[in-house]
């Protein structure tokens, strides 16, 4: 497997193509412009479609249409652009169509800052749009992970017939590093995936004697016998059962140097990467510190946090590029307020340094 030196955006876009993404629509926004630019060059080579929508709203709705037709598809944006996509994301969750939405987070609120941040955690995990729906949210901390997770996102979307979000940030999108890209899926495999959707629920035109293909309220569960459609509450219950299933089957996290740790860092994405460096420095100095890193922020890895022993762990430090912290509430819920939680934060393009983390961890030890 070939190692290449790639920018995050390029690695993401090429991985999507290799996963079989054959429709991409987006609207320019920093720091992820290289994603649409890459697709614009690359899609014609694989018989796919790239479209620059007239807005984020249009782009996400184009993806809704392409997804409804059974094509693997994707849109991406950053922060304030994702806010505009919320409408389409909500519709995709309503109709339960598989698609991939990527957010290369930047500062906020509003136009915020074009520089990187992690200020959309609530939006990604709690309120992607109206209606209380959820996506599985993948949170890469390196370009390698961004490539692998984008690829995986397409399979997850098809598996659950639900959109998936890749929650990355402007750091990872704009950096360059060596990466091994995932395998290109074969045309036969991709054709089989599309055909399976067409045979089941995707739009193709009505077939005599068979139920219509409706991309609307059907939401993954077939209407009861003799009924035109199931009730909204039925659909909410079906979705809720799926979200519960995710808690059993789709939680992913990493424990980093957690053995006998007395201080535990909670961080995802780029903040976890910087935290790992800080932990290595602290361990070398004899500090017992480790990290629980959510690899997916939804479903949140509650169990490893809940398993921390308050008799042994002095404190938790949430490291996040967001002021105020957003992930802290999930950590609090998981630990039931049994362990003191502190934060180490920066926002709107300011980068947390390993020294800041080292210092904040030492403060907890000194308490």
């Amino acid at each position: 497997m070939e190692r290449q030196f790639l920018k995050g955006c390029e690695a993401i876009a090429e991985s999507a193509v290799r996963a079989g993404c054959r429709f991409y629509a987006g609207y320019p926004i920093t720091p992820q412009n290289e994603i649409p630019e890459y697709f614009a060059r690359r899609m014609p080579e694989v018989g796919g479609v790239y479209l620059q929508g007239e807005s984020e709203v249009a782009s996400v709705n184009m993806v809704y249409g392409a997804a409804g037709g059974g094509t693997r598809c994707m849109t991406s944006s950053a922060s304030c652009g994702i806010s505009l996509k919320a409408e389409g994301m909500s519709y995709m969750a309503m109709a339960r169509v598989p698609a991939v939405v990527l957010n290369a987070q930047r500062g906020g609120p509003g136009v915020g800052d074009i520089r990187p941040a992690q200020q959309d955690y609530f939006q990604a995990t709690k309120a992607l749009g109206n209606g209380g729906f959820q996506y599985i949210v993948l949170a890469p901390s390196t370009i390698q992970e961004a490539a692998d997770m984008t690829y995986e996102a397409f399979d997850l979307a098809d598996k659950y017939r639900n959109p998936v979000m890749v929650l990355t940030d402007g750091f990872t999108a704009a950096m360059m590093e060596p990466v091994v890209l995932p395998e290109q899926k074969s045309e036969e495999e991709l054709a089989a995936i599309k055909a399976a959707k067409k045979a089941d629920w995707a739009l193709k035109g009505k077939v005599e004697g068979q139920p219509l293909h409706k991309i609307s309220f059907n939401a993954g569960s077939k209407p009861p016998q003799g009924k035109f459609m199931n009730t909204g509450e039925d659909r909410n219950k079906t979705d809720a059962a799926m979200y519960e299933l995710w808690k059993e089957e789709e939680v992913r996290y990493e424990e980093y140097r957690l053995d006998n740790a007395e201080v535990v860092i909670a961080a995802y994405g780029v903040a976890a990467r910087i935290s790992a460096t800080a932990i290595n420095i602290l361990r070398a100095e004899g500090y017992k510190v480790g990290m629980i890193r959510p690899i997916r922020v939804n479903p949140f890895p509650e169990k490893p946090y809940a398993a921390l022993d308050p008799a042994k762990v002095k404190g938790i430090l949430v490291v996040e590029h967001s002021i105020p912290s957003q992930m802290i509430y999930d950590v609090k819920l998981a630990t039931g307020n049994t362990i003191q939680i502190d934060t180490c934060l920066r926002s709107c393009g300011e980068i947390i340094s390993r020294d800041q983390i080292v210092e904040d961890v030492k403060k907890i030890f000194a308490k």
Partner: protein, 247 residues
Amino acid sequence: MEEVKVYSRASSIPKNPYIGFCPGCMHSTTFKVIAEVLDELGIVDKTIECNGVGCSGLGLGYVYLDNVFCAHGRACAVATGIKRTNPDNIVFTYQGDGDGGSIGIAETIYAANRGENITMILINNGTYGMTGGQMAPTTLVGQKATTAPWGRNPEEHGYPVHIAELLDSLTAPAYIARVAMNSVQNVRKAKACIKKAFQYQMEGKGFSYVEVMSNCPTNWGMSPLETLEYMEEHTLKEFKLGEIRAK
């Protein structure tokens, strides 16, 4: 004497549709015409309908076709995504004037400007029917609406938007027509234009648009018969019928 069948229900309109329209509403006439056209062109099994939000969205349960429930105003973007990835299907949008001409005007203009090979049917009834008669982009000067209780006042609300003519300012669209459903003669003409719009799509010519002048007895506060008169005397004077462009 031999019996000859001279009329039958269009194949995609079921006997007992799940949803209907108010009595005398021309949404149902329009759907009937579209369904007949699809039968005549032999494309029912290839057709995908993108419904707007509004009374147009009731088409989801009125016409039995594969369809998508699009967010308010976004049908042309959704249709773009479907058609670009399934070019062998026939894709059309069915939208209200609020849907395609106000909240979705950007999606409408840009799909038209890209020359997307889709057909857009826009129902111009001068009001927001579904939400109870608020002012629409097409409400006539002086015409009352729940949100313009003294009638549309140009100084405050601007003038009615002529969506067909707006699209006619673009280079890409292939077919643009405005038709009406208020008389037998006009329904016949409307059907010919709607058929032509779908034929344009079948021939790959690009964006085809038919604006259908319609009524809303419920929110105009008139009997269906009175709406026919009102259309003749007022609406059709503001919105001129005919083929505006046929490339």
